[in-house]
Every structure is written in structure tokens, then in C-alpha cells.
Amino acid sequence: MFPLAGLMFGREYRAVVEAATNPQVQIRDAKGRDTILQVRGLKKHFPISAGFIIQREVGAIKAVDGLDFDVFRGETLGLVGESGCGKSTTGRTILQLYRPTAGTVNFEGTELSHLRGEALRKMRRHMQMIFQDPYASLNPRMSVGRIISEPLYVHNIGTPQERMDRVQFLMEKVGLNPYFVNRYPHEFSGGQRQRIGIARALALSPSLIVADEPISALDVSIQAQVVNLLQDLQREFNLTYLFIAHDLSMVRHICDRVAVMYLGKIVELGPSEEVYNNPRHPYTQALLSAVPVPDPEVEKKRQRIILRGDVPSPANPPVGCNFNTRCPVAVETCFRDEPELKEIVPGHWVACHLSN
């Protein structure tokens, strides 16, 4: 029989599962850090088709247009940017919920974009997602117990009794009363529902969790609780987070490193404090200038950089630097050449012609 006692203790359990199913490959970068996820040249284009009987492709929404980044084991990498810049698409493409148009996603030594069918399905137990809308992400026809135990069920783990024990353990871990195991999602508040979603994501003891704006839909009063919960769980279960958010100030508190996205591309990537205190990209600077500062003296002197115009359509991004339509400091080359994401100082990457 499967040694399910380990189920109770996330980390040990994962070690058992991994030893059995996924001989873990460690990829170390030049500095010897353990890279859990390596994303290279990732693109996701949604075709725009027209035509009545014969559908023709007349263009593409370039939701994600060439991303390169690594995620290190145990860290929290923030992915921030305005709504519509492609953050959710990035998360979903990494998890292969959308198949990438181009590029590679290497997760613990396995190339995900090549996996199909059963192989991909089996791989899913190691990477999970927490969704933005706690009202839409739980099947209204399933009880909490069934929702949380479903991952165990679909991967055929444990007996029904062991699954129920695991559900109880998870509910306690995320701060839900296990007494409500037979209740249905509509009886819970937004914050409680998000906890159900978190418990479901934890059920298989994954190593990577993509959290897609897990607190944006919650009341401000509950946001901090859920963030603290996520941090506690990260410590306890040795989780790696790709934490998606649309607002930089939130991310600073949670993330070790942060990647700023604009129109399907990463414009700046670096340690949170570094990006926050010393933003190099004009877009990041503009975003940060909009964040109020608690110190009234500093707040008085704070200069807001107001960006002109709207975000261009991802179906038709500008030539050259895709920020050139709104950049306050754009120069001639910006309209001709696309800036590369370059390491300006060790660990701090910027995609701007002016930052060299």
C-alpha cells in the first residue's frame, strides 16, 4: 500500500511522491541557485479569426510576447503590470492551460511545452494555480469536501477515508472549520472561498503555485489575512510562488523578486527592494510615482509621472520599444529598435535603451 501517513505532512509526502514519480532534476544557474522554473522566449498569441464558413486568421492578440525569466526554488516572484498586460495569460501558459505559441517552459527539468495527454496530466500534481475570482473558481455544485479532495481523486491517491483525513488537515491548515466540509461554496464569504481554493491547490503538495491576483477580489480587510496565510503555507510546505498582482505596493511586501510587465513583455526584473527603491525603467518609475508614501514629508515632495494616452492594443503593438507611445523620455532609437532585457547590475534586468 501507498505510504499515506506521509500525506499528513506535506513536505515528506511530496518527497515520497517525487521519489516515486518524478526523479527531480535540479537546474542550477551560474550562481548555483536552484531554478525550479525556466521560461525562455515564451509567447502566447490568440488568433483573431474572421469569416463565416472558412475561418481565416486575420491577426493575433499578442498577449504574451517573448518572456525570459527564472524562478528559484522557495522564492516568491511577483509579476505585476496593468490589467490586460498579459499576466494571467503568462501564468496559464506556464501551467499549460494555454499551449504556448512559442518558447519553452522548463519545470524541474521537464520541458512542459512538449508534454501531452497523460504525461502532462500527471505533471499537473506538481504545479497548481490559485485563481483570482473566488466566486467563479469553485464549482457551485460541489461540496467543499469534494472540491478539496478532487485533486486526490483524479490522481487516484489514497482511499476515501484517507482523502477525507487529508481534507480535514488542509481545511485546518488554511483556517477553515472542518465541520463545514459538507457545505457548498455559496455559503461562504469571498475570503473563505479563497481559502477553499488554496486548500485545493495544496492538496497534491505541489512545488510551484501560480497565484493569479489571489487577493484582488477580496475586501481590503481580508487581504492581509490571506497574504499572511500564503506566506505561512510557503514556509511550512516549502512552496515556490509566482505571485501575480496588478499593484506594485502589494508585491513589495510579499515578493523576493518582482517582474514588471507591459504589453506582453517584461520591462524590468529584479529584487523587490531594488526595483522599488531604484526603478530603472520609465514605466516602473511611473507606476511607483502613483503609489502614495506613508511619510507626509516625502509624500508632499512626491512627483507623479502621469502617463499620456492609453495602453496600445496587444493586437497591434508599436514598432520599436512597445512603451514608446507613452514614454516621457523616449528618443529616436525607441521608435526603431526593440530594447533587450539586459542585466544592468547583477540581478537587476531592464529593457530600455536609456538604461545602459
Binding site: R124, R125, F131, D133, N139, V154, R200, A203
Partner: protein, 339 residues
């Protein structure tokens, strides 16, 4: 409020928790609609009566629907006659008789079988086909969806009535050759005969009217499959079959059930319309549509009672199904309720 000293303490085991399942919520909502509840009870009674008609006949409550009482044609309601077949010397026609002296009330009771049968056969056929078709198209999407929906457009343009006439003639001929059919075929032909020849034709009609159901099911699947809970099912590694049967179907069942309930009276109407065109039940099988049609042919002026019993039964049944459909819609269609 101070607790009475001898009040029983509430223990956990005694506190029976009411689990509020979505189905239970729907039922509570449905119960609030009195008209729908009454309609539901009426329909259940009707089904029971139609299934047990032979029992009532053997008990002598109703008559053989095809027995022709000589000399009692066009008898008025509540007239009585001598019944030579029974020890009971007198037989009263509650709803009168038709031109052949057949007891109208008994014919109405037996006629409910045809009406209910065509309603359910047509609905089951069109729902089965439409749901399977629409779910496949909506779930797999893309080119498959496009092709399948073009075929639906083609079906939409198909002229229904000429096809029905064609098939009706074809099946009438087919019934004459039971010896060439297998066991199942012979059983089907027998059922068809009991339904006055309408079983096959309503399968055809069902097959001609699944288009609307397919479109509805497809639309529902398209919107359900983009819900985050479907995506989350995919993210945990659920297979397509599980996603369809556990995550999509239960969530689109509401509108489908509503449409099913609403389509039953439509098929009953079709039966009446076919009778009107002379394409209805084979005589002497009693059917409401045929009886109303006959009353109309005889002229209401000469024998008004001919239309009263079947007309009343038909209208009440149609109304009941409509009210039931309304009640189900309020209870089950999540677009009209807060989730």
C-alpha cells in the same frame, strides 16, 4: 434571555445540520410557486391515471374506449343506458358519447396516454440528441464546432412537414411487415401500435427538433467551459470526461430541464395538429387531438359536448406543463437567481 434551568443542553450530535445543497435551494424556491406545485401534482396524477387506465377499466370505473354502444351515439353527458355486458344494468356516460357511441370520458382517459407519450418521446429524443450534439460542439470548439453548427443551420432550413408526411406514410407501410423485424423491432412495432402509430413519427419529429436544444446546449457549454472552476479542474489534472460530466453538465442542467419541460406541450400540440391534417393516430386509438378534431368536423353546433372533455383535458395539461416550466425556470435557471 436567561436559559431555563432544566433546558436541555444542545449537543453537537443532536444539532441536525441542514446542508444547503444547490438542489435543495432550488426545491425551496420551487415550493414557493404554488401554481407550479399544483401543476406538478396534476401532471403526476395524470401520469398515474394514464398508466393505470387498464386497472380502472377492469374495476368498471371507466369503459372500454373503443366499445360502441349501439343506439347511444352523440349521447349527452350524464345520460345513462343499459349495459348488457355487465351485471350492472345501467352505464352512465359522464362526458357523453361520440358518433359511434363510444364513451367520451373513457376515451379522454386513454387519450392521455397518447398525449403524454408523444410529449415525452419527442422531448427525450430531441433532448438526447440536442444535448449530446451541442455539448460535443461547444466543448471541442474550433473547426469541429464550426462544421457541426453549419449542419445545424442546414437542418434548420429543412422543411419539417413534408418530411413528416413522408415518414408517416413510410412507417404505416412498415407496420405491415412485423415478421421481418427482430425481437426488438417487433416490440417497437407493438409499442407503436399501442400509440396509434405515433411512436416512430415522434422519434422523427424529435430528431427534427433537436436543433434548438443543440444551440442552447452549445451556448451553455461555451460559457461554462470558460468559467474558472472548469479551468481549475483542468489545472488539477481532471480528464475531459470528468470535466464534461462533473463540472459542465451539472451546471447547465437547469436551463436544459426548463427547456425540456417547456417542449413537452409543444409536442402535444404537434400531435393535435397532425390529427387535424389526417396524419394523427390510427383509428380507433383514442387521442385528445383526434377527438377535438372530430368534434370540429361534426360541427360544435350539433354536438357541443364532443369537444368539452378532450378540450378541457388538453388545455389543463398544456397549462400545467407551462406553469411547471415557469416554476422550474425560476428555481433552476441560475441567470435569474443570485448564485
Amino acid at each position: 434571555m436567561a436559559a431555563a434551568p432544566n433546558a436541555k443542553p444542545i449537543t453537537l450530535s443532536e444539532e441536525r445540520e441542514v446542508v444547503r445543497t444547490p438542489l435543495r435551494d432550488a426545491w425551496d424556491q420551487f415550493k414557493r410557486n404554488k401554481l407550479a406545485v399544483i401543476s406538478g401534482i396534476f401532471i403526476i396524477l395524470l401520469i398515474v391515471v394514464s398508466l393505470t387506465a387498464d386497472v380502472w377499466r377492469s374495476l368498471g370505473t371507466i369503459d372500454d374506449p373503443n366499445f360502441q354502444h349501439r343506439g347511444s351515439s352523440y349521447a349527452d353527458p350524464m345520460t345513462c343506458t343499459t349495459d348488457l355486458r355487465r351485471m350492472n344494468p345501467s352505464w352512465c356516460f359522464m362526458a357523453g358519447t361520440d358518433g359511434l357511441g363510444r364513451d367520451l370520458f373513457s376515451r379522454v382517459v386513454y387519450g392521455s396516454r397518447v398525449s403524454l407519450a408523444v410529449g415525452f418521446v419527442g422531448t427525450i429524443t430531441s433532448m438526447t440528441f440536442g444535448v449530446v450534439y451541442g455539448v460535443i460542439a461547444g466543448f471541442y470548439g474550433g473547426r469541429i464546432d464550426n462544421l457541426m453548427m453549419r449542419f445545424v443551420d442546414f437542418m434548420y432550413a429543412l422543411p419539417g412537414l413534408p418530411l413528416i408526411i413522408l415518414f408517416r406514410t413510410f412507417f404505416k407501410e412498415l407496420e405491415n411487415y412485423p415478421e421481418q423485424a427482430g425481437d426488438f423491432g417487433r416490440w417497437l412495432i407493438q409499442v407503436n401500435r399501442n400509440m396509434g402509430g405515433l411512436l416512430f413519427i415522434f422519434i422523427v419529429i424529435g430528431l427534427l427538433s433537436w436543433i434548438g436544444v443543440a444551440r442552447l446546449a452549445r451556448g451553455q457549454v461555451l460559457s461554462a467551459k470558460n468559467k474558472e472552476y472548469v479551468e481549475s479542474a483542468r489545472a488539477i489534472g481532471a480528464r475531459n470526461r470528468r470535466i464534461i460530466f462533473i463540472h459542465i453538465l451539472p451546471n447547465i442542467m437547469g436551463p436544459l430541464i426548463v427547456v425540456a419541460a417547456a417542449s413537452i406541450p409543444g409536442f402535444m400540440f404537434t400531435e393535435a395538429a397532425l390529427s387535424y391534417l389526417g396524419l394523427g393516430v390510427n383509428p380507433p386509438t383514442p387521442s385528445w387531438g383526434d377527438m377535438i378534431n372530430e368534434a370540429q368536423v361534426r360541427g360544435f353546433a350539433s354536438a357541443q359536448h364532443l369537444v368539452i372533455a378532450p378540450g378541457l383535458a388538453f388545455s389543463l395539461t398544456l397549462l400545467a406543463f407551462n406553469y411547471l416550466g415557469d416554476g422550474l425556470r425560476d428555481a433552476l435557471d441560475p441567470s435569474l437567481r443570485g448564485s
